[in-house]
Symmetry: C2
Subunit: 103 residues, 2 copies
DNA sequence: TGCGTATATGTCATATATGACATAAAGTAA
DNA sequence: TTACTTTATGTCATATATGACATATACGCA
């Protein structure tokens, strides 16, 4: 696990208890988090492209504005399931969703 | 209620080709289910390629054999999060995971 | 046949994710 | 400034996912 990768994760808003906890994460756990953050960023980007508010997206999803905000901030309480549903609700085709994850 | 119905449909062996037949599901819901099933199939394929049992994969994941079985059978009670973690635990790189979703 | 292994299916207590809600903060325009 | 909109943050009751477990089924191979 490289230091610059850690800085990227922290800058993206992922909260970790301590350095030990963070360094204790396996590469697979880091990969998983990075995928979630990529989806998170894509939601914000795509919502901006659609020109709608968090409240509007929440209505489409049957969710709430606060959860959309947590979603876009990379909050760990948000599941990948919800992130995927959000991207689909924003009109992103499945192929593009996959590209986000792969990138 | 609606979610419960979908769960039973999936558990009963719902296949991608017949997804359009189930009225009441939006295109986005169908896309989401298809992505989950693609991941599900990939887990079984990749585990076979690794030549390990469901029990062994469960140990790697900190899960249980029964959950792996549900995972591979496309049971709706399994989250995308767990499916992704399983594929990563099977050594599939992030890029390949994305390709599974996009396909 | 039996015996060991792998997989499937169902249940359940508990852990986790969720929407709802309140409220703060930040931006916008008058 | 005020009034309004959007976004951020925290809490909480409830819905959902989870691992553990029991047990059934299947698939070898002796």
């Amino acid at each position: 696990m490289k230091a610059n990768k850690r800085r990227k994760l922290e800058a993206a808003g992922w909260k970790v208890g301590s350095s030990q906890d963070f360094l204790g994460l396996t590469d697979e756990e880091i990969e998983f988090i990075e995928m979630k953050l990529a989806l998170s960023r894509k939601v914000r980007e795509q919502r901006a492209k659609e020109g709608i508010s968090q409240t509007e997206l929440a209505k489409r999803l049957g969710s709430s504005q606060s959860r959309i905000a947590k979603m876009e901030s990379g909050d760990a309480s948000v599941s990948v399931d919800l992130l995927l549903k959000a991207l689909l609700a924003l009109g992103l085709p499945r192929k593009k969703v996959g590209q986000v994850l792969a990138a």
